[in-house]
């Protein structure tokens, strides 16, 4: 490891700890960075974390301690390179910090706060923010949940590191939980641009780890921007988006809930009210544009679909030149955020129009 790599390793440890990663996540980072197997034992040899198969043979051991307090030992199996001692000491320090928080009985452990939020233990925004502050968390007004999943531990480790770097925020604290093979991130989004950047950053993750993992097994989903106490809703959306992305596109894709159009409705078996809301939300941008600019984009779209996507016939029905229809279709694509030549986006628009026709 070069000095810069060592610094980067320490920074990643800090990000994992700051996001509430815990001993297991810290141990996985050490294992992923050095190729060793790792065991973290607390006092009385209680196993707190383990990564890797070859936990036999001679181990290198570093105490996990903070000042005079000893919390356990970090054990490593295998050849981890020239700087193994240093990276072990850095990792042990980060784990000591985590364990000292637990030992101090801080109910404000960061992870517990996010656990409470996603089980809707908080319904009042002010109480949630107070709870966060008591746990040393600077909470934003709004968040976006991102769910990532990979069954391959190496890829998951790379994904965790890349995601922690990509989702860094200077505005407020983010959250991070691990659930089996899933990594859950809660990204501060006080403004809409923060949510837009979270969606983009998530979508770029497969590319970010493509060098080390050219054949991705991962999937991911991004929920909508919600108020802090509504985080559970964003997480459910993220998990639905993950599931839809995997089924529709296979591995290596991140689904963004807002871009999935009709599919979340189909997945959840939505009721009449949800269908009407979906139709209204999908067509709203076109209607707002039509009203403001006295245009006929919605009518053009309906007609275009009803004549079997025949531009010439649509132009005749609308009494305009076919170039005008092409121009309007391009406008419709931009304003609705749907690509008319994409079958998934077409389904969304066709369903929105069909539901509207049936319910109004």
């Amino acid at each position: 490891m070069t000095a810069d790599e060592l610094v980067a390793f320490a920074e990643d440890l800090a990000r994992i700890a700051a996001a509430g990663g815990g001993p297991q996540a810290l141990a996985e980072h050490l294992a992923a960075s050095t190729g060793v197997a790792v065991v973290v034992e607390g006092i009385e040899s209680k196993r707190l974390a383990a990564v890797g198969r070859s936990t036999h043979g001679e181990a290198r051991t570093v105490p996990i301690a903070s000042g005079d307090s000893k919390f356990g030992e970090l054990r490593v199996f295998g050849d981890g390179g020239a700087e193994l001692d240093r990276v072990m000491r850095l990792t042990a320090s980060a784990i000591a910090l985590e364990l000292s928080r637990e030992a101090a009985g801080e109910p404000g452990r960061r992870r517990a706060f996010w656990e409470r939020l996603i089980t809707r233990a908080h319904t009042d925004a002010a109480a949630a923010r107070d709870d966060a502050a008591a746990r040393g968390i600077v909470a934003a007004s709004h968040y976006v949940a991102v769910a990532l999943e990979s069954e391959h531990s190496e890829e998951r480790n790379a994904l965790r590191t890349a995601a922690l770097a990509a989702f860094r925020s200077s505005d407020a604290d983010g959250g991070f939980l691990e659930r089996g093979t899933a990594l859950l991130f809660f990204i501060p989004a006080p403004r809409e641009i923060d949510a837009a950047n979270a969606r983009t950053a998530a979508s770029l993750l497969p590319r970010a780890i493509a060098k080390s993992h050219p054949h991705p097994h991962l999937n991911g989903g991004v929920g909508t921007r919600v108020a802090l106490v509504e985080l559970q809703q964003s997480l459910q959306q993220a998990q639905a988006a993950l599931s839809i992305a995997r089924r529709l596109h296979g591995p290596g894709r991140i689904g963004v809930y807002e871009d999935l159009g009709a599919y979340p409705l189909l997945l959840s078996g939505a009721g009449a009210q949800a269908l009407r809301e979906f139709s209204r939300r999908t067509l709203a941008p076109l209607r707002a544009y039509d009203e403001k600019h006295q245009t006929e984009l919605e009518r053009t779209l309906r007609l275009y679909f009803s004549v079997g996507e025949n531009v010439k016939t649509a132009a005749a029905e609308l009494n305009v030149h076919r170039h005008t229809v092409f121009y309007r279709l391009r406008q419709i694509g931009e304003i609705s955020g749907c690509k008319l030549d994409d079958p998934h986006d077409q389904l969304t628009l066709r369903m929105a129009i069909a539901i509207d026709a049936l319910t109004t």
Partner: protein, 436 residues
Amino acid sequence: MHSQPDGYKRPATKREVLRLAKERNVRFIRLAFADVLGVGKNVSIPVSQLEAALDGKVTFDGGSIDGFVRGEELDMVLVPDPQTFALYPWSTPESAEARLLCDIAMPDGSPFEGCPRTMLKRACEETRGALADPRVALEVEFYLFESHESEYGSTSTPDVGSYFDYSANDRGEEARSAIVSALQSMGVEVASAHHEHGPGQHEIDFPHGGVLEAADALLTLRTIAKHVAARYGLEATFMPKPLEERAGSGLHVNFIAGGGEDTTLYGIGGLLAHAPAMTAVCNATVNSYKRLVAAWDAPIYTVWSERSANALVRVPPNETPQQIEMRSPDPACNPYLALAVLVSALADGIEQHTLPGDPLVGSTYDLSEHDRRERGIGTLPKSLRQAIVELDGDPVIRAALGDHIYHALRDAKLAEYERYRRAVHAWEHRAYLRLY
């Protein structure tokens, strides 16, 4: 569409320059360079001194040039770049005049940190990790006005044309064609040229090429356009906003950063993040800020879009390779400094993984304050003074300029702003003289 003359090859070595000078009967050579304000300067030497000049033995008084080492009588050295050797278009087979663009060096031969051309090379070198080989194209707008004997020139135009118009009796069209021919004869490639929005306004586009070549091309255009226009009884001006009621003249800088979708997004993020601070460099006159208003598709907000004509950064979709167009600079800027800060902003965005938010659909002029806040959209500075405050607060852009040029530019621009602030303008007479 114009093309470069067949068989033109830039000389690469001192030996080739000496041979060409002899073959073409060159009598005088102008050793040209730009000061910190972007104004072209030159020292003319007889051909007998060419070899010495190419050896870096021609000096000039650096104390007499804005932004160099004013106040000190220090002989600076001109270091010609052989690849910029070109004959001026007024050369004849019997008697030719050539130019060489130069870097400025210290008397001991070391690079001078106040040389804009050297600074651009350094910026390209320092950003090579993020931007291996950026390509840049320029769209340069300017006006051709009737040339009258007056202290400050005139603003009457020789035509009534508009966008892409062609008129057989338009002296402006003829002058523009002559400018393009002159540029091509000097080895400056031109992609296209056309009439712009307003009467008298024209555009010349340079194709994608190296960053240094683009800056050299703009400096050459500004010099040549004035010479050629004068032959048609016209005056070429690259002043950003010569007429209140007509479109200003912009300099659209079109980058190909390379890399994939992520590189493009991060590059856009870098340009938007550093746009306010770059304004002091890319819009460096008090007049520049009369162009940056909500009219004539001038950009005023730090926002990007795929199609909107008035977004600061425009990224046309589905292009290969992907292009990133920065639309705020104006052609009165120092092209070396402007391209140095733009390249540095792009590279910083790529290195820091700066994301730009979602692209805007529609006109930026329609954005409400609430929309701008939610979308994280900032406003470009509204005056040169405000732009300097933004520059002071951006360490990336300051570092791109280097300490020497940052302070020289800052001092010069603060003084310029103060002179402007104290001046009593014609508008004030119209508004107040009789009213009060």
